[in-house]
Amino acid sequence: MLKNYFKIAIAVLKRRKFFTFISLFGISFTLTILIVMTAFVDNITGANYPEVNRERSLYITTLQQKNVKYFSQQNGPASFYYLDHYVRTLKTPAKVAISSLFSPTNTYINNKKLVINLKYTNDAYWDVMEYKFIEGKPYTLQQINNGERIAVISEDTKKNYFGDVPNVVGKYIEADNVQYRVAGVVKSVPATMFVSYADLYVPYTVSKTDYKHKSLMGNYTAILLGNSKEDLPKIKAEYASVVSKIKPDGGFDVFVSGADPYLGSFLRATPLGDSRNGGISKLIFIGSIFVLLFMLLPTLNLININISRIMERSSEIGVRKAFGASGMTLVGQFIVENIILTFFGCIIGIALSFLILQVLNNSNLIANMHLTVNLTVLFFSLVACVVFGLLSGVYPAWRMSRLQVVTALKAQ
C-alpha cells in the first residue's frame, strides 16, 4: 500500500515539474534557514569547546543589588573577593572556576599594534574548562600563590605575536606593558564563548587591580562544577542559603544572586529573568513563536500549491471515490504523498545547510567559530519537516476528500 502511494507520489512529482520545483524550493530553504539558525544558537548555548562540562556546571555571571525604597538597582559581575570568599568555599561543588571578564589591552610588536584580551583565572579554571593544550601546560596553584608572571596563550595569539615558530613555551610575551612567561598554548576559542574566550590567560594574583578589595561587585565570574548532573540542585540550594546571609553593599537593602545554567545566568538580570531557572523557558517560548511565524508564510504557500495540484487530480479522486474509497483513505494517501514530498525537500535542505555551514565556517565570519549540524539540530529539523508536511497537507486533503463524486468526475 505504502509502496503504491510512493509510486503515485513520484509520478505526480514528475508530472508538473514547475510545481514540484516550487514546493521543494520552499521546503528546503525554510529548513535550511531553520537549521543554520539553530546551529548558531546551539553553538552559543551548547556545551562546546572548551566548556564541554556545561551539562553539570552552574554559572554565576551577575549579582544584583537593589534599593527597594528608591527603585534603584545595580547589576554586574562579582568581585574576586566575593567569589573566593563565599563561592569557592561551598561544599557541594567539585570545583569552582573563577575568572575575570576578558578585558582588551594592547601590545606592540615591530611597530604593529595587537589587541590582546586578557583574562585572570584561578587554578581550578583549568580543571573545569577542557582546553586543548597544543603545547605546555596550565599554571599551578603554587605558581599562582607565588604571583609568578606566567601565561597561557591562545593559538591565534601565538601566531600573531611570535609568528610561525614551532615552540614558544618558556618564551616571553609582552602585554599591557608586562612581560609574561608562556606556560602553554591552547586551541583558540571563539568570541561567542563569553566566559572562556581570551587571548592571554594569567593568574589573578598578577592583576593590576586589587583583587583583595572587599566590595561585592567587581569583574569576575564563577563556574561551579558538580560531580554529576544530579548534584546541581544541591549546589543551587547551598548557594541560595549562603546568598540569603550576605549583606548588600552600602546604599542597597536587597542582594540577589543565583547559580544558574549558562544561558539562564545571563537572562537573570533581564526582564525575562526569573529566579527558578533564569527565564530559559520564557526564551524558548518566544523562540518557538518566532519559528512558527516564520514557517507560516512558506506553509500557506505550500497549501495554495497543494490545493491546485490536488484539484488537478479530481478525476482520479472521483474514480477512487466511485469505487468505494472512503474520505479517510484518500486524506491518508495525500498526507503520505505530501510527507514524501517534504522528505525530499528535507534531504535537499539538509544538504544545503551543510554547504552553507561549510561556507560560513570557512569565511571566518566569527574567528574560530565552528558551526556544526549536531544530532539535536538534525532531530528538530526532522520534526519541523513532519509538522511542515502535515500542516501543508491536511487542509488540501480535507478539501479534496469532501469533493462530490459527480463534480469530481464532471470536471474532466
Binding site: F25, P104, Y108, K113, N177, L297, I305, R399
Partner: protein, 398 residues
C-alpha cells in the same frame, strides 16, 4: 468593470481566501523590512556632526589608591601634562565610558520647568571635549574652567534636546533639573551654557538621540577611566606604543588604546549584520511567495481555458483578456492590502517603538508599491498566455 471582477472573486472565495492571507502576510513582512530600511537610511543621511578621524580612546581602571578628590584632580592634571608634552597629541579630555561608538550608554531623565520630562544621553566631559571631537556650536559657548564657580553644574545640550525642551526659545542660560532617585535628594540642577550640533555617536545607522554634555566634577572624575584625545594626522603605531608605555607606567593598571574610526566600523557591523540576516530571510520568503503565486495563477488560468475561449469567441481582444486576469489579481491584492494597512496604520497611531510617523507612512507606501509590483509581475506571464488562447482550440476541448 470592478463590480464584475469582485463577483468573479467572490464566486471563488474559498480558494481566494488563502491567496489573500498569503499576500497579507507578505505585506506585513515587507512593512517590517521597509520600516527598518527607511529608518536606517534616514539616519545614514544625517551628518556625523563631529570628526572621528585621528581620535583615540584610552580606557583604564582608575587606580584604587587615589581616593580623595583633590588627589584625583592632581593625578589627572599630571597625566594631561605628560601627554600634552608629546607633540603628536593636540588635545585631551577625560570623559565617561560612553564614548562615541562604544557599547555603553548612560541616560537619565531631564526636566525643564515642571512640565517636560525627557530621556537624554548624559556625557561627562571637560572643557576641552568639544575641541577633541571638533563639535560645532550653534548657540552660546562650551563651558570653561571659570564656570566651576557657578552654583549650577554647567552643561551643553545638543540641538535635538534643545528643540524638545525649548522649541524655538533661546536655551542659553536656562536651568534644567535631573531627577536622581538613588541619591535620595530631590534633583540635580544644570545651567545650559550652549547648544551644539547633533552628534551621531552611536554609529552611522543609529538615530540621533538627545544629548547633554555635563562638566565633570571631582566626584565623577574619581571613577572616570576614559580619555579621548586628538592626535596629529599620520601618527603611527610607534608613537602609540610609546604613549602606551608612558601611560602604563603613570597609571599602573590595565589600559587599552582604541581608535574611533575602527570602533565605528565594528559598531556599524553590529547594526548591519542582523539587518542583512533579516533581508536574506525576507528575500527568501518573498521569492517563495512569488513562485507560489505564479504557479497558482498559471494553474487557474489553464483551468479557465474554456471561459477564456468563450470570451475571445464573442469578441474580446487578447489584450482585454490578459488585462482582466491581471485586474482580478490586483483586486485580490487590494483586499489584502486594505487589511494589511489597517494593521500597519496602528503603528503610527499607537506610536509603537517610538519612531516618527513619516517613517511608517513611507514604509507602508513602499510595501504597497512592492506588493502591487510583485503581484503584477507574477500575473503578467499567465495573463499573456491566456491572451494567446485561440477560441477554436480552447472551445474544441470542451
Amino acid at each position: 468593470m470592478f463590480s464584475h471582477l469582485f463577483k468573479l472573486i467572490w464566486n471563488k472565495k474559498k480558494q481566494n481566501a488563502l491567496l489573500i492571507i498569503e499576500m497579507f502576510i507578505s505585506f506585513i513582512v515587507m512593512f517590517a523590512v521597509f520600516t527598518l530600511v527607511v529608518f536606517s537610511y534616514n539616519n545614514y543621511k544625517q551628518p556625523m556632526g563631529f570628526d572621528y578621524n585621528n581620535v583615540w580612546v584610552i580606557n583604564f581602571f582608575p587606580p584604587e589608591n587615589i581616593t580623595r578628590n583633590d588627589s584625583v584632580s592632581m593625578f589627572h592634571d599630571e597625566l594631561k601634562k605628560t601627554m600634552l608634552a608629546m607633540r603628536q597629541i593636540e588635545e585631551i579630555s577625560f570623559t565617561g565610558n560612553n564614548v562615541p561608538f562604544s557599547m555603553s550608554t548612560s541616560n537619565s531623565s531631564i526636566n525643564y520647568g515642571s512640565h517636560k520630562n525627557v530621556m537624554a544621553n548624559m556625557y561627562q566631559a571637560e572643557e576641552t571635549f568639544n575641541k577633541v571631537m571638533k563639535m560645532q556650536m550653534i548657540e552660546g559657548r562650551w563651558f570653561t574652567k571659570a564656570d566651576d564657580a557657578s552654583k549650577y553644574t554647567p552643561v551643553v545640550i545638543n540641538r535635538k534636546l534643545k528643540e524638545e525642551l525649548f522649541g524655538s526659545e533661546n536655551a542659553v542660560g536656562k536651568v534644567l533639573g535631573e531627577q536622581i532617585i538613588e541619591k535620595g535628594t530631590a534633583e540635580n540642577r544644570f545651567r545650559v551654557m550652549g547648544v551644539t550640533e547633533n552628534v551621531k555617536d552611536k554609529g552611522s545607522y543609529q538615530a540621533i538621540e538627545n544629548g547633554m554634555y555635563i562638566k565633570m566634577d571631582s566626584g565623577w572624575a574619581r571613577w572616570s577611566g576614559t580619555m579621548i584625545l586628538k592626535v596629529k594626522p599620520g601618527t603611527d603605531a610607534a608613537f602609540e606604543s610609546k604613549l602606551f608605555k608612558t601611560l602604563s607606567n603613570a597609571i599602573g593598571t590595565n589600559i587599552e588604546i582604541e581608535h574611533l574610526d575602527k570602533k565605528l566600523v565594528s559598531k556599524n557591523k553590529v547594526m548591519l549584520v542582523p539587518m542583512i540576516i533579516a533581508f536574506v530571510v525576507a528575500g527568501f520568503l518573498i521569492i517563495n511567495v512569488a513562485l507560489g503565486l505564479f504557479g497558482v495563477l498559471w494553474y487557474n488560468i489553464n483551468k479557465r481555458r474554456g471561459e477564456i475561449g468563450l470570451r475571445r469567441a464573442v469578441g474580446a481582444t487578447g489584450d482585454s483578456v490578459s488585462k482582466q486576469l491581471v485586474g482580478e489579481v490586483l483586486v485580490l491584492s487590494t483586499i489584502s492590502l486594505v487589511i494589511g494597512c489597517f494593521f500597519a496604520f496602528q503603528f503610527p497611531l499607537l506610536n509603537v517603538f517610538d519612531l516618527s510617523a513619516g517613517i511608517y507612512l513611507a514604509a507602508i507606501a513602499l510595501s504597497i508599491i512592492f506588493i502591487y509590483a510583485l503581484v503584477t509581475l507574477c500575473a503578467f506571464y499567465p495573463g499573456k498566455q491566456a491572451a494567446a488562447i485561440y477560441p477554436a482550440v480552447a472551445l474544441h476541448e470542451e
